[in-house]
Structures are given as structure tokens and as C-alpha cells.
């Protein structure tokens, strides 16, 4: 009986030693939005620079961001405290999304992209103005994802 037990222990030890554990610090990517700034105002028909500083221990993956209205003052939790316009119903709201690849071998990267907001929607005309926000997701090459937001106002330049 004792012999059997010692064989079993030995076998499991051998099996254990065959397995090499992943020797990395598992970490999520870090992101700092440089532009637009919190509560910035931007205008339909104009361009702005989307700038974000990225950092990860193993390398980056993708970045995606989208913009949608916040006329209902919906909340994602801890936000910048911008002054919101009164709550209103959307009629012709603007929304869009973008996806870009990031260099998977780089640990640090400054992502910069010029985004042009359309002046109006073909067929339905001018967009609703007021509170909008950006949703930003960043992945690293291991599959970790972080998520951040930015509140802005989008208006028509008078």
C-alpha cells in the first residue's frame, strides 16, 4: 500500500515539474486621454485631434472608440462633472465608431488620429446638438482590455 502511495506522489511530482508556468506579470494596459479634454466643446463639420497615451507591460492590441449622445444624462459612474444641458429627446442624434490596430510589439505608444465630424446626415439633415460622450476601449496583446470615457459637447458653430 505504502509503495502505491509513494509511486503516486512521485508521478505527480514529475508531472508538476514538466509544466513551466508563465513567468510574466499580468497587467492591464493603461490609457490617458490627452485630447479631447473633459467637457471640451467640438463642432459638427469640423475636425479635432483624438490623442491618447498608452502603456502596457507586454505590448498593445487594438483601440476602439465610439461617440453617442447623452441627452438623457445617462451615467457610467465616475465622470467628469460637466454642466449638462437639460434632458431632451433625441430626434436626429449623431453616433459613430472607429477601430484601429496598435503596434503589438510596443509597450508605449502615443495614439493620434484626426477625426472629422460630418456637418449633417444625408437625408435627415442637421444633427441634434448638446451632450455627447466617447467610449474608449483598449486591448493589449495578451487579451486584457480597459475601458474609459470622455464627456464633451458637440454644437454647430454659429
Amino acid at each position: 500500500m505504502n509503495k502505491l502511495i509513494s509511486i503516486l506522489i512521485l508521478t505527480s511530482l514529475i508531472l508538476f515539474s514538466c509544466v513551466d508556468p508563465k513567468n510574466t506579470v499580468e497587467e492591464q494596459p493603461k490609457a490617458e486621454i490627452l485630447s479631447p479634454l473633459p467637457c471640451d466643446t467640438m463642432y459638427f463639420g469640423e475636425s479635432f485631434s483624438f490623442k491618447i497615451s498608452l502603456n502596457d507591460n507586454t505590448g498593445l492590441g487594438n483601440i476602439s472608440f465610439d461617440v453617442h449622445n447623452n441627452f438623457g444624462h445617462h451615467n457610467h459612474g465616475a465622470h467628469e462633472t460637466c454642466t449638462f444641458d437639460p434632458v431632451k429627446q433625441s430626434i436626429n442624434p449623431y453616433s459613430n465608431s472607429w477601430i484601429f490596430s496598435l503596434p503589438t510589439e510596443k509597450n508605449e505608444y502615443l495614439f493620434e488620429e484626426t477625426i472629422t465630424l460630418p456637418f449633417e446626415k444625408t437625408g435627415t439633415g442637421k444633427y441634434d446638438t448638446g451632450d455627447y460622450h466617447f467610449h474608449i476601449y483598449i486591448t493589449d496583446n495578451e487579451g486584457y482590455q480597459v475601458f474609459t470615457t470622455r464627456d464633451v459637447k458637440i454644437l454647430y458653430r454659429s
Binding site: 505527480s12 508563465k22 498593445l60 465610439d66 451615467n75 486591448t139 487579451g143 486584457y144 482590455q145
Partner: protein, 804 residues
């Protein structure tokens, strides 16, 4: 030397002389020698049964020479089994039943035939009785069993949880109720068990690869639930139960009634549970980078209700037993709004904070209806068992319409689903099991069986994750148990399964702009193409059990298999709980697992130890791998998770030990540990997700002597220490170590010959804020429930209806 034990129980009286050869006389009394009228005496196979007379005496008149176990039971007393060899003793046997007084800290074993089963089986089995569940009752069935080594509950809010055996859950654990595989939406993370925990009479947990008996999915183990007990002859019995939990203001009640004439028995049960929002020891929760404020430390919208109804009707004849079991379980559960939905755009914070008991959007409504018939026919030493089952499982997730990606901003009126139905899953299952048992001599037991199951799954709602499908499963098996001698028993078996999954095509109900070389076209994107897959696989096991004096050894080697689920083959949508876009792989192979389990048992007079290690290898574990790509068509830019297969190695086990310090005081310690590694694929070197951290549970129990009307009083204190889980795989985060204290006490009050059981459990005594690595909400760093005091009261009654 099992027999010695029984001899002790047999006191011979010389009141009667034996007149006929096949007659067995006896008398059943309590410890004080008072007769127990209406006690039930049955043979283990239920073929011969009788009830004691007003003076406690009974006679069994058998036409055949039967030598086997007689089981003597009486409500409120420990069931006893007596093994008798033929010819019977010439004097009537005297049987003394002892009142229930059970161990608290581990599974209660009151029954000798259960003890024998546990010893002789080559598989690691634990059994929890109804009493154990009542004493340890928590908000949901699996949570009540959470303390057992190797078992954990994946909690979804406070009212639901799913079973996890050694870190594996979902479709890798099979749950059966009354013999039929429980088919609900196991693949879904937010799906509970949908079984009324008040109705569970006995629950059996098999750890290890048991595909041999249960077919596909039984990779990590099986939970067998028996939701009926056979009432004593000519009796009417029942109970009322009440349960209250302070943490989420849970109130539950259950009432049951069962009766038996000679051959016919019937039972009904109605249970209802209603609970408010769960209280957590924190004011804010970080959902990814968001901080969500909580009102009054209540986890918003986690209230719910559950109702369950059960009817049993059966016939117990000399050679035919047949019974119908009908259960209907309905529940409504709120989902924590910020954890469900990409962004709870329409979360009306004021409405959510207004009441802690209401259920608002998002919520799910589930209905599980089940009709089972179990028919067993005995002839000679053989028996044939036929189990038939019909199940209807309807699960609807409701939410206000939210457009994601290219979904229209406002829901058009012409859609063919309700406006607020986010996802609907309807599952209809037909099952049939046929088993032939052939016992040759006293040594060999052969079982040959056939299982067939057909499923039809429909989907509904404005949001898509898995397509509709139908599924056939069928398997044949042969299993043999052979007793080499009194100490050694070997068992083994082979099984072959075939299965077919037929997945229907699904296209979006809205149009998406698709870029081609020259232009942008608006298309109804096909999310899942039609797919037909056939699967076939061998499984088998070989085991040995050895019992000598106070030592026991079990060794079992098995191969198990699991057919990929339609979610793994064809999902193509956003999982709102995890901010992920899940993509199935239609070419996945059936998952195979090889596992060796060992169990070593020492059972001395003052101490007991059980060590149960396992080694496990998967050549193709199916794993949801988070990639770095993001999805385009669905718009919102979610991270893509792909189903992949990789080689996986696991090793681990549990240690249970107990020391009797004195007559009343018992010290217990259990520990569990699991190590896992992926040996290939994109996550090579990483462990598997949801790996439970090492933990130790220490308990001290004090069983006091009876005091006036207080019977079997007890008190216990428990200390759980869980190590940090630093072995993680994306998207998981490290979980820090924690320790939690809890208290429990209770007693049976005897007031005017009426028993009233009162049990109290105080968990997370110091209101510690901690995270559970195996929790469904771990990804959003949701802490576990804060301090909770729960109270259970059970009032049983029993009436004999013997003729005058």
C-alpha cells in the same frame, strides 16, 4: 467486519417462538424501550415492506428466502439498516432507534446503507441530507452546499447560484433530478439552477469523470438530486418550513404533505421565496473604470422571487414500482444594471433607488416545468428501470430596448418580438433512460443501459448571442461491479455516445453597412450559418475500492467526453456582462478528459482523515480566449473572444480531517487546492479561468446534551481562510486573500410532543469586504455579501393511519 456492527444492534428476546420458516418477527422501540408504532420496515430493494403495530411489533412474511438488508425508519429517528443472513433468528429481533443527532460540520450520514455505498463505491461520493441543507440553508441551493470540500457556488446575485466542482462548472457538471438530467440554460453565466432547495430530500455529489453513467458533460462530476422520499406505510406526514435572511431581507416558506396507503403514495409541496437587494460592505463599485454609487450599500436591482410547486404520485407493488414527479419552478430575478448591458443608458437611478424589493429592468424570468416517470420492475435478482422525462425551460431576459452598433436607434414597430425582450431562450427536452440490472450471486452486479435525449431550442428578442438549434444525444453503456472479497471491490465500464447538433441560420433583423471594394451596401448580416455536426466518442472507467478495518482506499481512472455546446460552436454576439464579443468555432472537436482520482480514508475512534487528490489531462479543453482584436460589424467596438481548444493539465485535491476532543467537542479542518496550466494555444503557460484559490476551513462544533425541552442543541464556529489567487488568465485580475468567520447554532424544541427545529447561521460575522475569485461578478470587482444572519424553522408532523 461490518457484520459485527449489526450484531450489536440485535438484542434477542424470547417472547415468541418461530412457527414458520420464512417469517421474520421483530419489535421496534425507542431508547427508553417505548414502542414505535407505524415505523417502516422495508428490504433494501423495497420488495418487502411492512409497518409496525401499536406495540411496535412487525412480521415479514416472505414467500422466498431473502437474505439482505432491512431498513427500519421512523420520522425523527435515525434510519437503521440490519443485514440478516438466512435462516432468520428464531426469536423476534429487537430494534432500537435513536433520535436524530447529527454531525454538523460535514455531511450527515445517518443511514448504514448510505455508509456502505460510500465505502464500496470506487468513485468519490458525498451525500447531503435534507437535514444538512436545512441547517446550512442559504439563499440558493448551491450556496447552501458551498462549505463542502471541492464544491463551490458561482453566485449570480443573492438568489441564484450554479454548481462548480473543483473549479469547473457550466456544461462540465451534470445535475440530475430524480434520475433525469436537468436541462436548462447551463451554458449561460447568469443562469441559476432552478431547483427548489426545500424540496431536496437527498443530494449526492460525485467528483470525478463520470461520463460512463451520465454521458456527455459529466467531466468534473455529477450532482444527483432526489426530490422525493417514500412515506411510511399508512401514514400521513408533512412539514412547514420558514427561512429568513437578514442581508437581503429574504423570506421563504415551504409546506409539504405526503401520504401513503398500502401501495399508493402521494406528495405535494409548495415553496415561495421573496428577497430584496443584496447588501454589500461597500458604498461604491468599480465597474471597469467606472465608479457606481450604491444606495444604502444595497446592490441595485438584485431582488427577486421564486415559486415552486411539486406533485408526486406513485405505486409500490410487489414487483412493480412506478411514480410520477411533476415540478414547476418559476422565478423573476433582477440583474445589477451596471453589470448587465454595455452601458445602462436608460438606468433610472431614482427608480432603482426607490425600493429595495422591486425588480426593474434588466431582469430575467425563468420557468422550468418538469414531468418525470420512474418505473422499476423486479424479477428474481434482476430489475429493469425506465425513466422518462419531459422538460420545458423558458428563460426571458427583459431590458429596455437599447441600440448597439447599427441597430436602429428607436425600435421599429414591425418587429416580431416584444419591445422589452432582450433575449429569449426556450428549451424543450425529452429524455429516456433504460437500465437493466443483473445481480449474479452476492458478488457481481452488472448494469446495461441506454440513454436518449432530444432537445429543441428556440430563441427570441432584439439581441443575438446564440442561434436556435436542435440536438440529439444517445449512448449505450455496460458497467460491472465485482466483489473480489470482503475488502476489495472492482468496477469498470465502457460507453459509446453519438450526438447530433443541428444549428439554424440566423440573420440580423436590422441592416448594417458593409464595405465592399467600391461601395457601401446595407445588408442583413448573417450572424450564424446553418450547421450540422455529428459527434461520437468512447468513454469509460476502471476503479477499485479497498476497505480494511478503519482504512479505506479508492482509485478510479476514467475518460470523459463532452460535446461542444452551440454557444461554443456558433455564438456570434455581445455578452453584455463581460463587455465581450463572443465568437464560436464551428470546427471544435468534442472535449476529452482523462482523470485519475484517489481517495484515502482513515477512520479512527478519536480522529478521521480523508485525502482525495486528482490528476486531470485534457487534450482539447474548450476555452473562451480573449484576443486583442475588436469587433467591427456590431459597431460598439467590443473585444473579440474566440472559442479555442488547448491542452490542459490540472492537479489538486481536498483534505478533510476531524478530531473528537471530548464527548461533545469536535474540531474539523478541510483544505482544497487546484493547480491548472494550459499547455498549448494562445494562452500557453496561463491557468484556466475561475481557478479557485487554495483555502482552509476550520470548524469547532459543540454538541450539547439534551436539556429539558431542548433536544440535540448544538453550536459551532467556523473560520475560512482563502489564499490570494495570483495565478490568473486575461481578462481576470488577481484576487487578494481573505478570511471570514461564521457562527451556527440550533436545536430541536419538544413542546407537547411536537418538534420544532430552529437553526441559525451567522455568516461573514465581521462584515468583511472580500472578493471571490470564482464569482460571476468578480470581473467587475463586486464584493461578496456582507454580514448575514439567517434563521430556519421547521415544524414536522407525522400521523399513522393504521387500521383499527
Amino acid at each position: 467486519m461490518q457484520f459485527k456492527k449489526f450484531i450489536v444492534l440485535l438484542f434477542f428476546l424470547n417472547a415468541y417462538a418461530l412457527s414458520a420458516q420464512h417469517l421474520l418477527y421483530g419489535r421496534v422501540t425507542d431508547e427508553d424501550g417505548l414502542p414505535l408504532p407505524g415505523a417502516s420496515v422495508v428490504t433494501r430493494d423495497f420488495r418487502f415492506n411492512t409497518t409496525t403495530e401499536p406495540d411496535g411489533s412487525f412480521v415479514i412474511n416472505s414467500k422466498e428466502k431473502i437474505c439482505q438488508e432491512f431498513i427500519v425508519s421512523f420520522l425523527g429517528y435515525q434510519t437503521q439498516s440490519i443485514h440478516l443472513e438466512y435462516p432468520y433468528p428464531s426469536e423476534p429481533i429487537q430494534i432500537v432507534l435513536h433520535p436524530h443527532q447529527q454531525l454538523l460540520d460535514e455531511i450527515t450520514i445517518t443511514d448504514d446503507h448510505i455508509q456502505r455505498k460510500l465505502k464500496e463505491s470506487t468513485i468519490n461520493i458525498s451525500i447531503a441530507s435534507n437535514e444538512y441543507l436545512t441547517r446550512n440553508k442559504q439563499g440558493s441551493l448551491m450556496k447552501s452546499l458551498d462549505k463542502l470540500p471541492g464544491i463551490s457556488a458561482m453566485e449570480i446575485g443573492s438568489g441564484q447560484s450554479k454548481p462548480v466542482i473543483r473549479g469547473m462548472g457550466f456544461n462540465r457538471v451534470v445535475v440530475t433530478e430524480n434520475g433525469i438530467k436537468h436541462e436548462s440554460q447551463q451554458w449561460g453565466a447568469d443562469h441559476g439552477l432552478e431547483i427548489d432547495q426545500f424540496g431536496v430530500e437527498e443530494l449526492e455529489i460525485l467528483k470525478g469523470p463520470v461520463s460512463l453513467m451520465y454521458g456527455s458533460d459529466a467531466m468534473a462530476g455529477v450532482i444527483n438530486i432526489k426530490s422525493y422520499s417514500i412515506p411510511h406505510k399508512n401514514s400521513l406526514s408533512g412539514s412547514s418550513e420558514l427561512h429568513y435572511s437578514a442581508n437581503n431581507q429574504l423570506m421563504a416558506g415551504s409546506f409539504n404533505l405526503q401520504a401513503r396507503k398500502t401501495n399508493w403514495f402521494s406528495a405535494i409541496r409548495y415553496s415561495v421565496t421573496n428577497y430584496g437587494d443584496m447588501t454589500v460592505p461597500t458604498d461604491t463599485i468599480n465597474v471597469y473604470t467606472y465608479k457606481v454609487a450604491l444606495n444604502d450599500r444595497k446592490l441595485t436591482n438584485t431582488a427577486g422571487t421564486e415559486q415552486s410547486f411539486q406533485i408526486n404520485l406513485g405505486y409500490l407493488g410487489k414487483s412493480l414500482h412506478s411514480a410520477f414527479y411533476l415540478t414547476d419552478n418559476m422565478s423573476t430575478t433582477g440583474m445589477f444594471a451596471h453589470a448587465h448591458g454595455l452601458e445602462p443608458r436608460k438606468v433610472n437611478t431614482a427608480a432603482h433607488f426607490a425600493s429595495h424589493r422591486d425588480v426593474l429592468f434588466p431582469k430575467q424570468e425563468v420557468n422550468h416545468l418538469k414531468l418525470i416517470n420512474r418505473t422499476q420492475y423486479f424479477y428474481g435478482d434482476h430489475s429493469t428501470l425506465l425513466e422518462l422525462g419531459f422538460q420545458k425551460n423558458i428563460r426571458d431576459e427583459y431590458n429596455e430596448y437599447i441600440s448597439h452598433g447599427y441597430m436602429p436607434y428607436v425600435l421599429p414597430e414591425m418587429t416580431d418580438f416584444p419591445d422589452d425582450l432582450e433575449r429569449g431562450f426556450d428549451k424543450y427536452t425529452l429524455s429516456a433512460n433504460l437500465r437493466q440490472q443483473i445481480i449474479t450471486g452476492k458478488k457481481n452486479e452488472l448494469n446495461v443501459g441506454l440513454n436518449i435525449e432530444f432537445q429543441n431550442n428556440k430563441i427570441d428578442g432584439f439581441s443575438f448571442i446564440i442561434p436556435a438549434f436542435t440536438q440529439w444525444l444517445s449512448g449505450i453503456y455496460v458497467m460491472d461491479q465485482y466483489k473480489l472479497n470482503e475488502q476489495v471491490q472492482v468496477s469498470g465500464g465502457l460507453r459509446y455516445d453519438i450526438g447530433q447538433i443541428n444549428i439554424g441560420a440566423y440573420s440580423d433583423w436590422f441592416q448594417t453597412p458593409v464595405q465592399s471594394d467600391t461601395s457601401t451596401n446595407f445588408e442583413f448580416v448573417e450572424r450564424a450559418p446553418e450547421l450540422i455536426r455529428f459527434f461520437g466518442s468512447w468513454s469509460g472507467s476502471l476503479g477499485l475500492s479497498y476497505n480494511k478495518h478503519d482504512f479505506g482506499l479508492k482509485v478510479n481512472i476514467g475518460k470523459s467526453y463532452r460535446m461542444p455546446t452551440p454557444k461554443e460552436l456558433a455564438s456570434n454576439g455581445v455578452n453584455y456582462h463581460h463587455f465581450s464579443f463572443e465568437k464560436g468555432d464551428s470546427s471544435l472537436n468534442p472535449e476529452i478528459s482523462y482523470q485519475m482520482d484517489i481517495s484515502l480514508d482513515w477512520n479512527k475512534r478519536f480522529w478521521a482523515v480523508q485525502i482525495s487528490p486528482f490528476i486531470n489531462y485534457f487534450p482539447n479543453y474548450i476555452y473562451l480566449n480573449p484576443g486583442y482584436e475588436m469587433d467591427i460589424y456590431y459597431g460598439a467596438g467590443n473585444q473579440v473572444f474566440n472559442y479555442r481548444q488547448s491542452r490542459v493539465f490540472r492537479v489538486g485535491g481536498e483534505i478533510q480531517s476531524q478530531i473528537k476532543l471530548n464527548k461533545y467537542l469536535k474540531l474539523g479542518a478541510t483544505a482544497e487546492y487546484i493547480f491548472s496550466r494550459q499547455l498549448s494555444g494562445e494562452k500557453k503557460g496561463f491557468p484556466l479561468p475561475f481557478s479557485p484559490p487554495a483555502n482552509v476551513l476550520l470548524s469547532l462544533n459543540y454538541n450539547l446534551p439534551a436539556f429539558k425541552c431542548l433536544k440535540e442543541p448544538y453550536a459551532g464556529i467556523e473560520f475560512l481562510w482563502s489564499a490570494a489567487q495570483n495565478s490568473i488568465v486575461p481578462p481576470e485580475q488577481k484576487t487578494p486573500a481573505y478570511n471570514v468567520w461564521s457562527l451556527n447554532f440550533g436545536a430541536r424544541f419538544l413542546i407537547n410532543r411536537q418538534s420544532v427545529h430552529v437553526y441559525v447561521v451567522a455568516s461573514n460575522l465581521f462584515n468583511i469586504r472580500y472578493l471571490n475569485h470564482g464569482s460571476y461578478y468578480r470581473l467587475i470587482s463586486l464584493p461578496e455579501a456582507g454580514r448575514n444572519i439567517s434563521l430556519s424553522v421547521k415544524i414536522p408532523f407525522h400521523k399513522s393511519l393504521y387500521g383499527k
